[in-house]
């Protein structure tokens, strides 16, 4: 067993507001091994993007890490100052966001943005960096890279822009890429191109990826392991095959059942009634208990922590000792 590249331990993120403190992330723990692709999936408001933002140190104020640790190669990165974190960002952790238009500066050419990133993090001259920039654009599949390097973001289409963003994220050969909904703004045919590009490039460079998305299909095709989040907590985490085919948490089961499948005909989709609780009214006990079809007394009072259940770890009392018959 190799040492994990990224360790997140008991991470809590709070948003102090005038009407009290909102707990947005509660006791999140997971690891990412070198070269591994971890998917983080969940519905809007589950805290998946916030987890990514906490790791790259870009929490929007007044959000703050209240407790817990984030370690990159054993070194703590959650308590670093702005300048130190800025050096890690880009050099060791690359980031890809949802909307490629807002993550590029519209006033600079694509080449200038790439060169800036490269020279900031790597000891290269301007001309070397420019050569490397063209190389990167070629690797991400942009045709006529030598000409396009001098164009502005608005001259690129959505899919091409996202390729540029990937090139930027990979520019300094980081060990970890945090990709937050990288294909949500793109059409399906372009999504397929971008996902396979991201997967292949990370494999070549040996970079690990934390892929945040709401699309189970993307997770299934891309990731090694997946974490399912619900109301600021990890509900289930484990190998993709196990989580998808033998979901242990009733929420995962509901989530999988509500996706219309391409290979079977059902008159009705399985539906989870209700919706995710708001942060200011998270139920006591298990946050999922009001919507859960298998709820019993313990779920309403006591909050479950992650328990080993087969190959996955799951936060559900159904899998606690003595409850095997219920699950």
């Amino acid at each position: 067993m190799t040492a994990p590249l990224l360790e997140v331990r008991n991470l809590r993120v709070e948003f102090p507001t005038r009407r009290g403190t909102l707990l947005a992330l509660d006791d999140i723990s997971f690891d990412i091994a070198p070269g591994e692709i971890l998917g983080v999936v969940g519905e809007s408001g589950a805290g998946k993007s916030l987890t990514g933002a906490a790791i790259i140190g870009l929490l929007d104020p007044p959000g703050r890490i209240a407790s817990g640790e984030i370690r990159l190669e054993g070194k703590r990165i959650d308590n670093l100052g702005y300048e130190e974190m800025r050096r890690i960002r880009g050099r060791q952790i690359g980031a890809i966001f949802q909307d490629p238009l807002t993550s590029l500066n519209p006033l600079y050419t694509v080449g200038r943005q790439l060169v800036e990133t490269i020279t900031t993090h790597l000891p290269m001259s301007q001309s070397e960096a420019r050569k490397r920039a063209i190389e990167l654009l070629e690797q991400t599949g942009i045709p006529a890279a030598a000409q396009r390097v001098d164009q502005y973001p608005h001259q690129f289409s959505g899919g091409m822009r996202q390729r540029v963003v990937i090139a930027l994220a990979l520019a300094a050969r980081p060990k970890l890429i945090v990709a937050d909904e990288p294909t949500t703004a793109l059409d399906v045919s372009i999504q397929a191109q971008i996902i396979s590009l991201l997967k292949n490039l990370c494999k070549e460079q040996g970079a690990a990826v934390m892929l945040v998305t709401h699309d189970m299909g993307v997770i299934a095709e891309t990731c090694d392991r997946v974490a399912v989040m619900y109301a600021g907590r990890v509900a289930e985490i484990g190998p993709v095959q196990d989580v998808i085919h033998k979901p242990a948490h009733p929420y995962t089961t509901g989530l999988m059942g509500s996706i219309p499948a391409m290979d079977e005909d059902r008159e009705r989709l399985l539906q989870i009634d209700g919706s995710m609780p708001r942060l200011n009214s998270i139920p006591t006990g298990c946050a999922y208990n009001p919507r859960c079809p298998k709820v019993f007394d313990r779920c309403r009072v006591e909050r479950p922590n992650l328990i080993q259940a087969g190959a996955t770890r799951v936060a559900c009392w159904l899998h606690a000792e003595g409850q095997e018959n219920r699950a």
Binding site: S189, A192, S196, H214, G217, E221, S258, I259, M262
Partner: protein, 332 residues
């Protein structure tokens, strides 16, 4: 009961003028520019059935939706509803009845509901507008019945849209669309803005309502899995044209058009863990300057010289309709 289809679309086209302002055209010598958003589309929808239109952004599917409810006037072609030409009827006094019989559900329930109105007013407006109720008591009762038919509570009439989640808002939109007891609903990406578990709730309600009330749907979506779940017939659009039109089963079991195949292959599937594949290269071309011949030819693995010059027409082929030279010639 009449035998003709409820909705019949013949050779429908919509051209938008997207030219620069006159002064710019004169000074910078720019030509007039036109987008053929919808270009010669024909289909029919039988009563009580669902036709789904799928395609990527900019293929003209939303424009078709708006043409069908009369929000746009067609540049060319005819949309007939229950035998009557929509564009002509809307100009006459019978237009009000027609409006009552077709309704639309929009994509974004955050933008399609007036934030300053109570649910009571939002859902009740079409009832008042069409004079379908007498007095405020009856109005309130009808609104409550409508809300309950989409799974909302009677007490919700006093609330404002911001007090609801996205899925609940989309149910309010559905209740509003159902208020005039329409026969035909045009749904433009009704679940694209929703999470999957909420999407399942909305799709189930739409299916239940169709069964109970015999509704006819035009369902616009870019999500093929959703389309497969709701549709009876599927039309695939590319750059303003229908490229394949077939029964759901035919289309998904045996896709013929290379673009349909590409779309189906591109969907990430939860049962295909770790699948590696070579996605189709290229992107949708600029609709301002579409390719010659078949507009899919630059991305098509089966394209030959004929495809580059001659545009294929949508033609009957082994029980389905398809616009492809390669399939017609047996090269596919």
């Amino acid at each position: 009961m009449s035998n003709h289809p409820l909705v019949e679309v013949k050779d429908l086209a919509k051209i938008f003028d997207v030219s620069a302002p006159w002064l710019n055209r004169v000074v910078e010598r720019k030509p007039k520019m036109y987008v053929h958003a919808v270009d010669g589309v024909s289909f029919t929808i039988e009563r009580g059935k669902t036709l789904a239109l799928v395609g990527e952004s900019g293929c003209g599917k939303s424009t078709v939706a708006r043409l069908l409810v009369g929000l746009y006037k067609p540049t060319q072609g005819v949309v007939s509803f229950d035998g009557a030409d929509i564009a002509a009827t809307l100009a006459t006094p019978e237009g009000r009845t027609l409006r009552r019989r077709t309704q639309m559900i929009f994509q974004d329930p955050y933008a399609s509901l007036n934030p300053r109105w109570k649910v009571q007013d939002i859902v009740g407006e079409p009832l008042r507008e069409h004079g379908m109720v007498n007095g405020s008591d009856e109005l309130q009762q009808r609104v409550i019945a409508l809300l309950q038919s989409v799974g909302l509570a009677a007490a919700d009439v006093e609330k404002f849209p911001h007090q609801f989640s996205g899925g609940q808002r989309q149910r309010i939109s559905i209740a509003r669309a159902l208020a005039t007891q329409p026969e035909f609903l045009v749904c433009d990406e009704p679940t694209s803005a929703l999470d999957v578990s909420v999407q399942a709730q909305v799709l189930n309600i739409m299916k239940d309502l169709q069964r109970e009330r015999g509704l006819t749907y035009l369902f616009i979506s870019h999500n093929l899995a959703v389309v497969r779940h709701v549709a009876d017939q599927v039309g695939v659009m590319y750059l303003g044209r229908l490229v394949e039109l077939a029964d759901k089963k035919d289309l998904f079991d045996n896709p013929r058009h290379p673009y349909t195949r590409m779309l189906l292959d591109a969907i990430p599937d939860i049962h295909m863990t770790g699948r590696s594949r070579t996605p189709v290269q290229g992107e949708v071309p600029n609709p301002l300057n579409p390719p010659s011949g078949c507009s899919f030819h630059p991305r098509c693995p089966l394209a030959n010289d004929r495809c580059k010059v001659e545009r294929p027409a949508l033609a009957e082929f082994q029980g389905i309709k398809i616009a492809c030279h390669a399939v017609a010639e047996g090269r596919a």
